[in-house]
């Protein structure tokens, strides 16, 4: 188990390094500099700025310096918000995004797997139809439609919940964004659970259990462990999807999370900020995949033994 963890972690490290290198090169080789927006910049001032941000050094040296700082957990100064470092900006934004993501994940897992179990237990009945409905709904009505509709219904119509803002993380502000973020994920988890569970239920070893007279609830409980595996391997992808979705949700609901900073950074050519978000997101996805792999191995002895 430890050996597996080490080897997976060792495999992830070069991936992360290459991502850092790629984003760095993309940013530096792109046409247009970070200060192009401010058109009439005095050459003297621009030269000063370039020196402050170390853009006057050779590329390799810049990269080396960036890497050295990165290893120490320092993402450098923001190009756009000149008085802040990227770390300061993200220290506020990251927890907000992570919290929303975690909430969405929990909703999706509980609601989705419950729906999936209902679907698998009545393959031609109401459960399966429910899953089909939710799945289609979750895909056909994407967050960018759901979010404004929820705002209209709960916020402007019922005046029950705020339509936007974070308000220091008050729960009323979190309900709508978390729900919106969770919807497509719930649909995916529901379908996956249903498919996996139906699959497992038709396997010979489940027939063995039935043949030995185990009651249905025990058979379901038993099958669920195997059915968990494909759902689990989907979660790595889901983490990436949540991060993508959070960009939309943070924009619509006006939440100061990672997604917002990423968009603002991209619009304002704030290279250090964009790089930091990309690297953090990539690292999170890799970390999540690693955790998923390890849990998988823990659950499935065949994988554990390699």
């Amino acid at each position: 188990m430890l050996r597996l963890a080490l080897s997976r972690a060792a495999a992830a490290a070069p991936v992360l390094f290459i991502i850092v290198l790629l984003t760095f090169l993309l940013m530096r080789l792109a046409p247009g500099g970070p200060f192009d927006a401010e058109r009439t910049l005095d050459p003297q001032i621009e030269a000063n700025l370039r020196r402050i941000y170390r853009l006057d050094l050779p590329l390799t040296q810049q990269f080396w310096l960036y890497l050295v700082h990165l290893v120490q957990g320092d993402f450098g100064p923001s190009f756009h918000w000149r008085d802040f470092s990227v770390n300061e900006l993200l220290a506020k934004a990251l927890p907000i995004s992570m919290r929303l993501g975690a909430e969405a994940m929990i909703i999706a897992l509980t609601v989705g797997s419950a729906l999936g179990i209902a679907g698998a237990s009545s393959p031609r009945g109401i459960g399966a139809r429910l899953v089909d409905g939710v799945a289609l709904f979750g895909l056909a009505i994407p967050p960018l439609v759901v979010a404004p509709l929820l705002q209209l219904g709960f916020g402007l119509g019922l005046h029950a919940l705020p339509v936007g803002g974070w308000n220091g993380g008050a729960w009323r502000n979190q309900v709508l964004p978390a729900m919106t973020l969770a919807l497509p994920l719930t649909a995916a988890v529901a379908r996956l659970t249903q498919a996996a569970l139906s699959d497992v239920l038709s396997m010979p070893h489940i027939r063995t259990l039935r043949g030995f007279g185990f009651p249905s609830w025990r058979i379901y409980a038993h099958a669920l462990r195997s059915a968990l595996l494909p759902v689990l391997s989907y979660l790595g992808l889901a983490a990436a999807n949540i991060l993508t979705g959070s960009i939309i949700i943070e924009t619509i609901f006006g939440i100061p999370g990672m997604g917002r900073y990423f968009i603002d950074g991209a619009l304002g050519r704030d290279y250090t900020l964009v790089m930091a978000t990309v690297i953090i997101v990539a690292a999170l996805v890799l970390l999540f995949n690693l955790l998923v792999d390890l849990t998988y191995a823990w659950l499935d002895p065949r994988v554990r033994d390699g």
Binding site: R3, L6, S7, A10, A11, P123, S202, M203, P204, H205, R207, T208, L209, R210, G211, F212, G213, F214, P215, S216, H222, R225, S226, L299, D300, P301, R302, D305, G306
Partner: protein, 550 residues
């Protein structure tokens, strides 16, 4: 008496076997059982009964409905199947029983062993847990008592080191051990009826023989009724008290073993009884030229290591030497993992090898890819699985002529079509069917198509890798006859690989016995069968012709 039986159920089996007191009475009665999938009936009005303590053999070829019959008894049919008629167990109709009462019978009074020991066990739980779960459910044992009893059971089914093995997961056990675990699970609650669905078919012959002996011994000591399902009538001779023969879902013959074997009423039964292919007539000593000679052929595979695991090397074939002459057949026998298929691929340069392979006087073991391509038309390969060896997206005609597209690229489409028709005709398939896709043919027909594909290039050497193993006995005999006719017509040299000694005896002039990558014995077929030199060969022979007369 009913009371006493219930009490006996709750206790682990000990003391005198229960089967004796009720001997003679019917325990399980199938009456007019029909199993339907939509409009198709796979079991058609089958009626027979099983007495207490009796061994009943249910025999039939694939698709005869034998498995469906017993699955219906435990209501294990898939949801789209419908069973009608009645199956009476100890006075109650199983088909109309409530789920709850059925569950108190399943596993406890009727237990089942399935064909595939790998997939019948849950891969995520240790075998000890799986047996223990049954004991706790039915015998009401505590976790600790169940664990103790599990060890006894594993010991009873002759698994070495049960204390260690009960913590193993199914994938850590060999096929035979898995089947032993399945048996331990089935006998754990001392059932009245044990159903064994081809329990030895997926196993190697020597392993199968031991499992078969174990089952017979356990039945004798525990005294339960045993329903033994098999496609091989010969296998059950000597153990079965009663034999029921199924064909296309209908019961064609039913009677005591003595009567069925001595004096079969039905033609089909007679066919099954004689279905063992006949040994090949010994032919004059080799005179023809050598087609293939292999000297010290070794095939190594490197198992790649991970970041923290070292790479390993295994020898799949270790120093094999053999000779095949024109118009003759060399049989290669061995159990799974003995390296016979790898050797076959190496002989055709389809696996990396060291050593020498001399084909028609030329050493081909060092030839480059391009030089080999020209030689490929003279050496061909036929695979075991007629379902996997034909591309599902090509028509029979396209499959048969693929070799022509490689070796005669200038040939026109029309001409290829003519050649396809001719090639199919030679293997006795209606050429009009050449536009059809593989799934529209039966297993035997598909194997004929595969043979036609190999023959269209007029090869000198054909390697046949278990060409009949996936087929029913009656179909096997046809395929073997076809192969023999083709050999005589085209003076072909065959390397015939099989785990089935009965089949090898029917085709081979010479035989090589393989074990753990080595050819341990090679020589004239007759001599090997009559007078084997190696102990392993003797075991193999004994296991293959177990319980059936040679």
């Amino acid at each position: 008496m009913k009371q006493g039986e219930a009490a006996a159920d709750a206790n682990p089996p000990s003391g005198p076997a229960r089967g004796q007191d009720g001997a003679g009475g019917r325990i399980l009665c199938f009456r007019n059982l029909t199993v339907a999938y939509g409009n198709a009936n796979v079991v058609k009005g089958v009626s027979f009964s099983v007495a207490r303590g009796e061994v009943a053999a249910l025999v039939g070829e694939s698709g005869s409905g034998k498995t469906q019959t017993v699955l219906a008894a435990l209501k294990l049919l898939p949801p789209q199947a419908a069973a009608s008629g009645s199956i009476e167990f100890d006075g109650v109709d199983l088909l109309s029983l409530s789920q709850k009462r059925l569950n108190s019978i399943r596993g406890r009074r009727i237990a089942m062993i399935f064909q595939e020991p790998m997939s019948a066990l849950d891969p995520l739980f240790t075998v000890g847990d799986q047996i223990g779960a049954v004991l706790r459910l039915h015998a009401g044992l505590s976790r600790r008592a169940a664990a103790r009893r599990t060890l006894e059971l594993l010991d009873l089914v002759e698994i070495p080191e049960p204390g260690r093995r009960c913590h193993s997961y199914p994938h850590e056990l060999s096929g035979g051990q898995r089947q032993r675990v399945a048996i331990a699970m089935a006998i754990s609650c001392d059932p009245d009826v044990l159903i064994a669905d081809e329990p030895t078919t997926a196993l190697d012959v020597t392993v199968a023989a031991r499992i078969f002996d174990l089952l017979a011994a356990l039945r004798k000591s525990l005294g339960m009724a045993l329903i033994f399902i098999s496609h091989d009538l010969g296998l059950v001779r000597g153990v079965a008290d009663a034999v029921h023969v199924l064909r296309h879902g209908e019961l064609v013959e039913s009677g005591s073993a003595a009567q069925v074997f001595q004096n079969p009423r039905c033609d089909y039964t007679r066919l099954l009884l004689t279905a063992l292919p006949k040994p090949r007539e010994p032919r004059p000593a080799p005179g023809g030229p050598e087609v293939l000679r292999a000297e010290g052929v070794t095939v190594r595979f490197r198992l790649r290591g991970g970041w923290f695991a070292r790479a390993r090397e295994i020898k799949a074939v270790d120093g094999a030497s053999l000779v095949v002459r024109e118009g003759r057949t060399l049989g290669l026998v061995g159990e799974s993992g003995s390296g016979k298929s790898t050797l076959a691929r190496a002989l055709l340069r389809l696996a990396p090898l060291s050593g020498a392979v001399i084909f028609e006087g030329e050493d081909i073991s060092r030839l480059g890819r391009e030089a080999l391509r020209g030689l490929r038309r003279s050496m061909q390969l036929v695979f075991q699985d007629p379902y996997g060896s034909l591309s599902p997206r090509m028509t029979a005609g396209d499959i048969v002529t693929e070799g022509l597209r490689v070796h005669e690229p200038s040939m026109s489409r029309a001409e290829r079509d003519v050649r396809a028709a001719r090639a199919l005709e030679e293997v006795l398939i209606d050429p009009a069917l050449r536009r059809r896709f593989p799934h529209e043919f039966s297993g035997g027909q598909r194997q004929r198509i595969a043979i036609a594909r190999a023959m269209i290039l007029k090869p000198r050497l054909v390697v046949l890798d278990e060409p009949t193993s996936a087929l029913d006995r009656t179909v096997q005999i046809d395929i073997l006859a076809l192969l023999e006719r083709l050999q005589e017509r085209h003076r072909l040299a065959y390397v015939f690989i099989s785990h089935d000694l009965a089949v090898v005896r029917a085709v081979a002039d010479d035989i090589g016995v393989m074990k753990e990558g080595r050819i341990i014995e090679i020589g004239n077929a007759l001599q090997i069968f009559e007078n084997p030199r190696e102990a392993y060969t003797r075991t193999l022979l004994a296991a293959s012709f177990h319980a059936s007369d040679i």
